[in-house]
């Protein structure tokens, strides 16, 4: 096995008593002594600090950066205002999702944050298709922290009052603890909060300054997963991957009108034909929220059936587990569109038994963003 990479906060995680696990080639904290359940609840009630430095941070610069990225991403990037952020994805020629990502217009460049497991491929993909017309630069001298939860604004604005002026999906350069940080008011927990790109050498000092606050606890990947699942947010490689299109992934909201059929800049991204056709006629399957009726969690891989007796599966659970805020099991799955109406009861096969689940609107916990 090859050596695991470490983030600039690795030593701090170990000092805080984290249980470290391999994740996307990195040694990452899955939980701290508080435990997954309490870490989850703390984030929803106060604020949690996450190390997401394993994710890829990329600068795309040059006069035509937004136009160029629109050739790979089915999102309105030209229309993204300065200091604003937006969700998107790279698609392949079959319309499948190569990765999902965040795009921020930072004035003289587009700042892209991509998943750790895909970052090498994403950067190569951008360089191959976009250079030399624009410059694609991986940022390796910065860590990425996420501060999430209702107390985040009070915590961060104590370090720089400008943090309080930002609203959901705004980006700004803040001075936190004297360090130049690139901050967005976003995250991946369904809570209000911020993502903070901070120079590697300042990352631990900033993390300690944030953790000093009574309302802030360090939170591991375990709770990050249950928080995003309750928030109805996709995990790349599980809920969506190269075999799912944005339509199947229930992500058409991320494709603005201007990029859809009839829009001024319709299509022009890989897989346009497949995605445009599915947006008109529907896709054969769709990502939905699933609420198991009993207490037993149903996890990734559980097969789904229309009835307790049906021979043929109608889909599969793609993410599932216990939702501490919901107080019971929650899941998401890809199922045949014919069976995907909200309120439909379907059955998951767990340890040889067919147990009922209800197709449920996402998110499971209401989003708590500052609009």
């Amino acid at each position: 096995m090859s050596e695991l990479l470490e983030t600039p906060l690795h030593d701090l995680h170990v000092r805080l008593g984290a249980k470290m696990v391999p994740f996307a080639g990195y040694s990452m904290p899955v939980q701290y002594p508080l435990g997954v359940m309490k870490e989850h609840v703390h984030t929803r009630e106060k604020a949690g600090l996450f190390d997401v430095s394993h994710m890829g941070q990329v600068k795309v610069s040059g006069a035509g950066a937004a136009q160029a990225l629109e050739r790979l991403i089915p999102v309105d990037i030209i229309g993204l205002g300065v200091d604003r952020q937006r969700y998107g994805m790279f698609t392949n020629d079959q319309g499948g999702i190569m990765d999902d990502l965040m795009l921020a217009n930072r004035g003289d460049h587009i700042f892209v944050v991509v998943n750790a497991a895909c970052k090498g491929a994403d950067i190569a993909h951008m360089k191959t298709h976009l250079e030399p017309e624009v410059t694609v630069t991986e940022i390796t001298d910065r860590a990425l922290l996420a501060l999430q939860g209702p107390a985040s604004e009070a915590v961060l604005s104590a370090l720089d009052p400008k943090a309080a002026e930002m609203t959901f999906m705004d980006v700004a350069t803040l001075s936190l603890n004297g360090f130049e940080c690139w901050v967005s008011r976003s995250g991946y927990t369904g809570e209000d909060g911020y993502e903070i790109s901070v120079p590697n050498i300042d990352a631990e000092a900033l993390a300690l300054a944030l953790l000093e606050h009574n309302d802030v606890e360090a939170i591991g990947l375990g709770a990050r997963d249950s928080l995003r699942l309750e928030g109805g947010l996709c995990l790349y490689g599980h809920d969506i991957d190269t075999s799912t299109t944005p339509v199947e992934g229930a992500l058409t909201w991320a494709i603005q009108k201007v990029r859809r059929t009839g829009g001024a800049r319709a299509g022009g991204f890989p897989g346009t034909d497949v995605i445009a056709a599915q947006m008109e006629q529907g896709a054969p399957r769709k990502r939905v929220g699933l609420l198991p009726e009993g207490r037993a969690p149903m996890r990734e891989g559980v097969e789904l059936f229309a009835t307790p007796e049906a021979k043929t599966s109608i889909g599969t659970i793609t993410s599932g587990g216990f939702g501490p805020t919901v107080g019971g099991p929650v899941a998401m799955g890809l199922i045949s569109t014919d069976h995907s109406a909200i309120g439909t009861t379907i059955y998951g096969e767990l340890r040889g038994k067919r147990l009922p689940l209800t197709i449920t609107k996402l998110p499971f916990t209401p989003a708590n963003f500052k609009r």
Binding site: V30, Q31, G35, V36, M37, G222, S226, R295, A296, P297, R299, G321, F322, P324, P329, R351
Partner: protein, 119 residues
């Protein structure tokens, strides 16, 4: 008390053997959110899956450490699975088995042996 390498504990009472998992095991599993118990009256053979535990992380099976009949299950775990975390060797017990061959217990570790095993 006796202990297995699967981190189960066995406590002999007048009418049967009470079985649970150790604190060491619950610490490794993390927060337990669901416990599926067998039916009272089930006859079990050593190494049969008798209990399913779901923690926030994963599902794990508890295997019968001895042959016998399930004579009691801890219904309280259905309502409050966290009991297994809070009081692993007390209120967090899983099942009581009436052993058909009590000598199977002899194979297992005593407390000192188990402590050495997990050290």
């Amino acid at each position: 008390m006796k202990y297995t390498e699967e981190h189960e504990w066995l406590r002999v009472e007048d009418d049967g053997v009470v079985i649970g998992i150790t604190e060491h095991a619950t610490e490794q599993l993390g927060d337990i959110v669901f416990v599926e118990l067998p039916e009272v009256g089930t006859t079990v053979t050593k190494d049969d899956e008798i209990v399913v535990i779901e923690s926030v992380k994963a599902a794990s099976d508890i295997l019968a450490p001895i042959d016998g009949e399930i004579i009691e299950v801890n219904e309280a775990l259905g309502e409050n699975p966290a009991l297994a975390n809070e009081d692993a060797i007390g209120a967090g017990w899983f099942v009581k088995i009436e052993p058909s061959d009590a000598s199977q217990m002899d194979d297992y570790m005593d407390e000192a042996g188990y402590k050495k095993f997990i050290a």
